[in-house]
Assembly symmetry: C2
Homo-oligomer: 217 residues x 2
Amino acid sequence: MRIAVLGTGVVGRTLAAALVTHGHEVTVGTRDPVASLARDGADGFGTWAAAHPTIEVGSFADAATGAELVVNALAGTASVAGVTAAGIADGTVLLDVANPLDASHGFPPSLFVANTDSLAEQLQRAQPGLRVVKSLNTMTARLMVSPLELPGFTTFVSGDDADSKAVVTRLLTELGHTDVIDLGPLETARGAEALMLVWLRLWGVVGSPMFGYRIVR
Amino acid sequence: MRIAVLGTGVVGRTLAAALVTHGHEVTVGTRDPVASLARDGADGFGTWAAAHPTIEVGSFADAATGAELVVNALAGTASVAGVTAAGIADGTVLLDVANPLDASHGFPPSLFVANTDSLAEQLQRAQPGLRVVKSLNTMTARLMVSPLELPGFTTFVSGDDADSKAVVTRLLTELGHTDVIDLGPLETARGAEALMLVWLRLWGVVGSPMFGYRIVR
């Protein structure tokens, strides 16, 4: 598949690199490619991009052109603007892995949308022609692409369109996710995003982000 | 221990009956004991009370008198008023198992407090002399008292006072809870209560309330 990843943070980089490994053609979109690529140093995006020469880096719109699937790996607060700027073709699947974190009040962050609405629904309303699927937002980036390091946890999928959930579920299976639960329509992302409120606390208690939710049943 | 259970619904009855089985002296408190006991029929509280003659039924205040631990098993919307009416002695542990469900918009309910506050914190603010501990709200009543029917799921505890969390954790262990995670201070109940947003969806997907969250780590 031709996949565009929006976002140059740890989540975006981790997903982009793994998707290439699985044989996909991957582009990465960023608001300002020149500024992003100028960030060198050990953790700089420019350094990462130089080490991944098969991954094309461009503007949100450049990256999204021709993509069969677009991944929103932007910060929650930047997601609606970034996805909108990408001008993604109607009918494209948007896999939203972001969380609506509000860090303005210190740690742990709360959510800037919750309970009766979700970031995934905000994206769907902003871009009604897309087919938004929420998934992967309930785990650390490494487990998104390397789930078999922690056997047995559950990965949730939410979305209004069965075909696009099937596309995402195939991708999840490729990456090694073994227990995928379809929670139902996109509004079930309210629950999946709210898991972040427990996740941030568990991170401290467990002492590592390498944990996951298993639905025992 | 002498334990008062506030609430005559399925959760209150299930907890009260199980706590007696484990050797505790249990009272059940209800807003209007005469009206509650008059409910006969197969599922009526009066029928249940007659079948459990060792459990004393009274007003919230009657039930709470002399209790070493009080369980809030009231509906979320009735919790602050009920706990306040009970006039519970300062220093008593209040085990809050309720969820702040707002059913006024149909199914599934949303939460009437979430994200930046919680029902547990509302109770603590309303009754600052109590030591509120949140637990057991993330599972169906049967699993609260019979967790070994579903081996391996995790039970969360939130509270500001280490001693009262230890009291509750001992009680959980007695009931058979094998994986108890202390999430931290009472404000971590925001996460535990938000799990209800996923729980209500999973109930439909799993087709049964006999499921639980395991933190795989």
